[in-house]
């Protein structure tokens, strides 16, 4: 885990850039996660102070939304759709294949810190189920074989 002191100036910059914006908490949290990869627990105090909120209020927002995370992600984040359309096209087989081949469950990161695995409920790619994303890229009609190829390509790009 990185030392928060090195991250703090980044957090303060993001806070300052958003102070005048109405309803700024989600944009701030996105800004921090986009930059650092996660929302450091230690940043909650700074966010709360800047927005005149209690730490509980900020923590409550961070923990409410599935997308926000408070631990560093792996180098690549894989999201597997669990919703109905993907289930209709063997999504569950893909899900267990992914967990087995990565050796982790949802919300976990591989020991080499290369991959994090998250569930997602619909990627809007339901015409070509089952779907996953690797970072910002969507992949459709993903079979276990195709999943392995995509994984290998990611590792190759290491």
């Amino acid at each position: 885990m990185q030392d928060y002191q090195s991250q703090k100036p980044i957090v303060l910059d993001i806070l300052n850039a958003h102070l005048a914006m109405p309803g700024n908490l989600l944009p701030i949290l996105h800004g921090i996660q986009d930059t650092l990869g996660y929302i450091p627990a230690a940043s909650i105090d700074d966010i709360a102070k800047a927005l005149y909120l209690s730490k509980a209020e900020v923590h409550g927002v961070v923990s409410f939304y599935h997308y926000f995370r408070t631990t560093p992600p792996g180098k690549h984040t894989i999201r597997i759709c669990r919703a109905e359309s993907c289930q209709a096209m063997n999504g569950k087989t893909l899900e267990s294949h992914a967990k087995n081949s990565l050796g982790i469950d949802f919300h976990e990161t591989t020991s080499d810190e290369h991959f994090s695995l998250e569930p997602v409920y619909c990627l809007g790619n339901c015409a070509c189920s089952p779907s996953i994303t690797i970072d910002d890229e969507v992949y459709g009609r993903v079979t276990p074989e195709k999943f392995d190829q995509l994984l290998a390509a990611c590792k190759g790009a290491k």
């Binding site: 599935h66 409920y121 790619n125 459709g140």
Partner: protein, 515 residues
């Protein structure tokens, strides 16, 4: 120079469209061919994506599905002149799947360059706004009311009535909020509009702002749609640069500002009051109603909250008149609905058609049955909170009231098809599990009921006091339907009870006569 079209739509990209475009550009350059590749939206015939179209003297000739390895043979057989090839489909407009649609809201999607303002204007864009700028506010609202447009997000509330309420609510500041938190499985029409024709949404929101006197709009976009965000922001920037957003719109003295805000993976934020809380920077807890958002909405001000498709349907209504739109449809369902065929279906895609077609026609005539080639067993219409329908119900016309009459919902028009390998007790359990995952937690029937629902279904399936637990499950569903604060808890019983009623054998119960 020859113009070619390869989509920038997420689903086309998920099938390799980016690589196809790259390969085509490289090989054309190597051969010294003068081409321009336009990255359009998708035509919505997803089994043919990545689709490649070429502009010729005889119209736009389509090829698909194209992969990079097909490019050499395509170029060799005269792609740039629209010559024949095993992948050649002819003109998209001549394919029955496309020809038999009524493309009103989706008129430009797949046809134009989504982020090119000149292209938008050349294809009848901003004509609705032009009319609106010369009209009284109440007349703009009247056109929308006359069109019969109802909320396309699923609730089907008359859009004109909502707008009128905001128009008549006195306030210094009002807001237009677009609900782009399209979280229902089996739906992608909002995404297609935002990626394929973002200007039509911007125009619709601008007209809404003029109609009710709102000067600020927000698009609340789900984080799962990164490509839509890029397209929207490109289009918004172009609209600002050309005087279609900001102050003094087209010299009218009218102001409308627009901004995209990202959600953070909470399904419940598709519920309008939860969405408003989220926009205000809070946990997405559902609000009590009344007061309605039209009276006390974002930051406590009168607010229109409309779905993407509702707002994107406004420009054509203001361009051609409310009556033009109203002339499509049946009963109280006026205009068109962009249906989305998904799941286990041979021809998945976007099918915009006037209300009234039967589900059967859509599933078999156009959808082509299942992708697996097995019989269709169950179809879920209207997202995760919609009922499962069995084969005996497929003759129901696609109409809000006809669906309500069989305890189902048409909702956002998303249709997820399952073949006969599906276990409906699993799907019922999943519906409860999804509610556990996504409940905002404010009301007890939803928060606790969903957890108990998973447990009770497990007991039924595992043969633990089967009859007693079936009674208990029905009782629990009753409590959720009537006791929940919003549709999350209130409609989760729809997929559960329809599974139980239509497919009792999957729960190990005595099969009932199909009704």
């Amino acid at each position: 120079m020859t113009r070619l079209f390869i989509s920038r739509d997420s689903t086309a990209l998920s099938l390799g469209a980016e690589q196809v475009a790259k390969t085509l550009q490289e090989q054309a350059s190597n051969q010294g061919l003068d081409i321009q590749i336009v990255r359009n939206g998708s035509r919505g015939l997803y089994w043919l994506e990545p689709l490649l179209e070429v502009e010729t003297a005889n119209g736009r000739i389509a090829y698909g599905p194209v992969q990079s390895e097909n490019i050499p043979s395509l170029l060799e057989s005269g792609l740039l002149e629209g010559q024949t090839h095993p992948l050649c489909l002819g003109k998209v407009e001549d394919l029955p799947y496309f020809k038999n649609q009524n493309r009103l809201t989706f008129a430009r999607v797949g046809l134009t360059d989504p982020v090119n303002l000149d292209d938008y204007i050349a294809h009848e864009g901003y004509r609705g706004l032009k009319n609106a700028l010369s009209m009284q506010q109440s007349d703009i609202v009247k056109q929308v009311t006359d069109s019969g447009l109802r909320g396309r997000g699923g609730a089907a509330f008359p859009t004109g009535i909502k707008w009128n309420t905001v128009l008549n609510a006195p306030a210094e500041q009002k807001y237009i909020v677009c609900n782009a938190d399209e979280g229902d499985s089996g739906t992608f029409s909002d995404r297609m509009i935002m990626e394929g024709d973002p200007f039509v949404l911007i125009e619709g929101m601008t007209i809404a702002g003029l109609a009710v006197g709102a000067t600020q709009g927000y698009i609340y976009l789900r984080i799962e749609y990164p490509h839509a965000k890029v397209a929207l922001n490109q289009a918004i920037a172009a609209a600002y640069q050309n005087g279609y957003l900001g102050e003094n719109i087209q010299g009218s003295g009218k102001t409308f500002h627009l901004e995209v805000r990202s959600g953070a993976g909470a399904y419940i934020c598709g519920e309008e009051t939860s969405l408003l809380e989220s926009l205000e920077g809070k946990r997405g807890l559902v609000r009590f109603k009344p007061p309605l958002p039209a009276i006390v909405g974002l930051f406590g001000k009168p607010t229109i909250v409309n779905n993407v498709i509702s707002l994107a349907s406004v420009p054509i209504i203001l361009d051609k008149g409310g009556e033009y739109y109203r002339d499509y449809g049946m009963g109280r369902s006026r205009g068109t609905l962009p249906l989305q065929l998904a799941g286990n279906i041979k021809h998945p895609g976007l099918f915009e058609v006037a209300f009234g077609m039967t589900l059967r026609e859509l599933l078999y005539e156009y959808g082509g049955g299942t992708a697996s080639g097995r019989p269709i067993r169950a179809v879920q219409v209207g997202g995760p909170l919609g009922a499962y329908l069995h084969e005996g119900q497929f003759d129901t016309p696609l109409d809000y009231e006809a669906f309500a009459a069989i305890s189902a919902v048409l909702g956002h028009g998303g249709i997820v098809v399952h073949d006969d390998t599906v276990n409906m007790a699993d799907m019922a359990r999943y519906a409860m599990e999804f509610c556990v995952e996504e409940s905002c937690g404010k009301c007890t029937p939803c928060r606790i009921g969903s957890t108990r629902g998973v447990e009770v279904i497990d007991r039924i399936v595992n043969d633990v006091q089967k009859d007693k637990n079936t009674v208990l499950l029905r009782d629990l569903c009753d409590t959720m339907v009537y006791g929940s604060l919003c549709a999350m808890g209130g409609m989760t019983p729809y997929p559960v009870l329809s599974s139980l009623n239509h497919f009792p054998e999957d729960f190990g119960l005595q099969p009932a006569a199909k009704v």
